[in-house]
Amino acid sequence: MKAHSFRRPAHRGAAAVSLDDPQGRLASRQQFLEGFQSVGTRQASRRAVLAGLAALLAAPVLPARAASLRVAVLDYALAETLIALGLPPVGLSNARGWSRWVVEPVLPAGTVDLGIDLAVNREVLASLKPDLILTTDYVAQQEEALSVIAPVKRLTIYDGSAPALDKAKAVTLALGDMVGLAAEASRFLAETEADFAGRKQRNAVAGRRPVLVLSFMDARHVRVYGRPGLAAGVLDAIGISNAWKPETNLWGFETVPVERLAQAGEADILVLDPVPPDALPTLQRGPLWRELPAVKRGRLTVLPPALMFGALPSARRFARFATEGASA
């Protein structure tokens, strides 16, 4: 993001919180991004990310005036992170789908729906008088148009530069830094890592079978989640083996016909809601599905929705379900 996006529109009132003079942070952000871009291999990436993070954490941050900062977001992952940091967004694109795909953390009732994320409603957005607008690579083509309203910053977790969980951690810190909640972000990250570590211990004791994590597309096709996605990262972090070994796309899923699941053998199956209502009944009528070890032995669990393209809050939600089952 170039500095010009920080230009303040002339017609805005003086009430807005200042985001000017972000020089120090910009410099560190640059280092941080270079950390991502310079990596060639996955092994190297974690180190590079952490180096970038260190540079970020050392950088000067805004004074903690987050309570008054009005942030509008065009992405669920960034929105849930903001909520976790205690700064719920004032506006969110596709807000009406939140309860179906994200659920937790609860979206505060006052959050305004900005419409379709590919073309957010700028009139509504401007009426919210945001101080900052957050985008990702996928909605980036609107940035120029949005920068008329408020400074625009782009933070993308799913860009393939690092495994999703690592990148989500980095983005959490970067976001915290950006909105003056660096301490909260570090605390939340530490809390998340402690949570994962605790689960890892418990799972080691319990001796968990490998799991297959999937969403049903229809009665014949599933998305199965693997590296470098969020679910795979969480499973690694909480010490459960992911039965899906092949590398998937950069969002961490692969669309496969159901029969391919047979190769996962004895693995337990975790299915994420929403499941198309005809999928399981249709499959139940066929021996291929009924004879899958997990189905046959009743080790298939349908979990409540958890956003597989989310950030740390979704990761923790999924970690909870993966460890404790649907009732968690």
């Binding site: 017609h11 590919l118 009139e123 148009a145 796309n249 029969e259 021996p287 599905w289």
Partner: protein
Amino acid sequence: MSALRQPIGPGALSLGLLAATLATGVLVLLPALREAAGPLPVAAFDHDRMVLLHSTLPRLVMALLCGAMLGLAGALLQAALGNPLASPTTIGTDAGARLALALAGLFAPALYGWGRDLVALAGAGAATGLVFLLSRRQGFAAVSLVLAGLVVSLYAGALAGLLTLVEDRYLAGLLIWGAGSLSQQSWEPASGLAIRAALLLPLALLLARPLQLVELGEDAARGLGVPAERLRLLAIALAVALAAFVSASVGVIGFVGLVAPAIARAAGATRVKNRLVWSAVLGGLILLLTDLLVTLLAGPFADFLPTGAVTAVLGSPILLWLLPRVSRGSAPPIKPSDPERARRRPGRGALVLALLALAAFAAALLLGHAPGGWGLATGAALEAVLPFRWPRLLASAGAGALLGLAGLLLQRLTANPMASPEVVGVSAGATFAMVLSVFLVGAAGAASVTGAALLGSLAALLLVLVLARRSGFAPERVLLAGLAVNALLDAVVVVLSATGDPRAIQLLGWLAGFTANVSPGSALVVAAGAAVLVPLALLLQRWLALLPLGFPPAAALGVPVPAARATLLALSGLAVALATPVIGPLSFVGLMAPNIVRRLGIQAAGAAVLASAACGALVLLVADIAANALAHPLQLPTGLVASLVGAPFLLWLLQSRKAA
């Protein structure tokens, strides 16, 4: 079988295909078969064996069955209509089923079994019926039927796309289904489909003889007591049912129903009965072979590739191959404009349209949602929303003017009132290039996208030019070439969407034509393009006036035909390339505007240029107002909203055009 005695022989061809299929089949199945033949493994769950028995084998049967049903459906349609271009894909049957099942997926997701079939049947029947209604006046002429089919398909596709964008962007199942995956997990769907096929097949064979009589001549058939009309209807209904059942169980498998009968005929199956039988055989083998090759080439760990999308990608160019057969024989050429009464003062009409466009622009600037509800904004409130409204409206108006201009140029150039950037495939070409630039190059900057759009639209225009040169711009050839390009684009989009790649959603967004957040820079570029190209076209009004007379007369009157043609094509290509990144390829404005102008009796070339541009701008501005008012706070894509008006308009146009 008499067909075996044919010179090339569909039988011999089928045997060859069968051999290829068997060879591929062995390659695919060998590992699993070796496993299955070996000693029983110790593990309780033998997954290779289970997959072979309950997935691989039913899938093979399913491929054969679906291919055969589609081949038969295509052959029935072609025989009933005497139209070598008819098929479930080209006359809207597939698209109707697709839309109906998409709606069912949203509003009655628990539907399966016969319920799904009925929904598919209703959709397929409705779409096909609409297509027939529309081409009835032209006596179901090959080209007008397929054009109507194309438009209905585009319309249904646009609606399904809108649903996916607005209702549920994670609705990937719909996309997979639309792409036609053959994967199976039990014998149940295959046996269910087999029952349906078994019910319909005897009927089809019974129809073969009477259809033969009809083909020999309608009067002769009537003399022999064959009710030709009713017979055709029955054959068509049968074909629709066959295609709908296939759609309901595996999704849309494009173009098998077009290709199989074409090959059967080319191989020498002339009699209707032979054509029906061999189309079914060849259709089954073609789909099976394709599916096996997809399985083999894709490998167990490659990206998911739905077979139906592959057949569509491979099959849509076949349309181009079929074109010469059509333009020479059965199709009555589309005649240039019906003699509309020319207005005495066309300039005044153009002025009125321009004023209306201005009024719409002003209204759209002032009207909109405000905190207090929908209404006029004034004073400070207006000042607050103006920066968001003007780029959107300027871009819409500019794109509309450009498309209106491009449509007029193409229509004058081809002397064909149905030509337009959308129908001729120029918009599709531009979009295609945009897609490639994003997926291959990865760049999404406005400049690179516009550049790609320019290359794509010019390439599509060149293709049209090459194809058209040989036939001296036979209008139907131009239109159908565009149709093939459109179908190819659709197939590629479907392949991309089915993998679940989120970039596919962006792509859908593009096709849909969101104008809401066009940057002021792009808006100014589009508007400037219109401001330059429209006057430029005015300078060429002499050519535009004379070219519709035909090239030789125009040349005789002093028009440098090759230069004029190249200039006008380049001009319209440029106009489309500027407009498409903003409004997408589906708006139909390029078709609507010049036709409205013609209906208004504005014929003088100069006035028509101005009026078309003004009318295009007016249409998109009205669509823009609607797109922003209908589902607040959602801003619907203006391009799609325009097409929701434009497609029915096109259909009306097709329908009201008098038979040649």
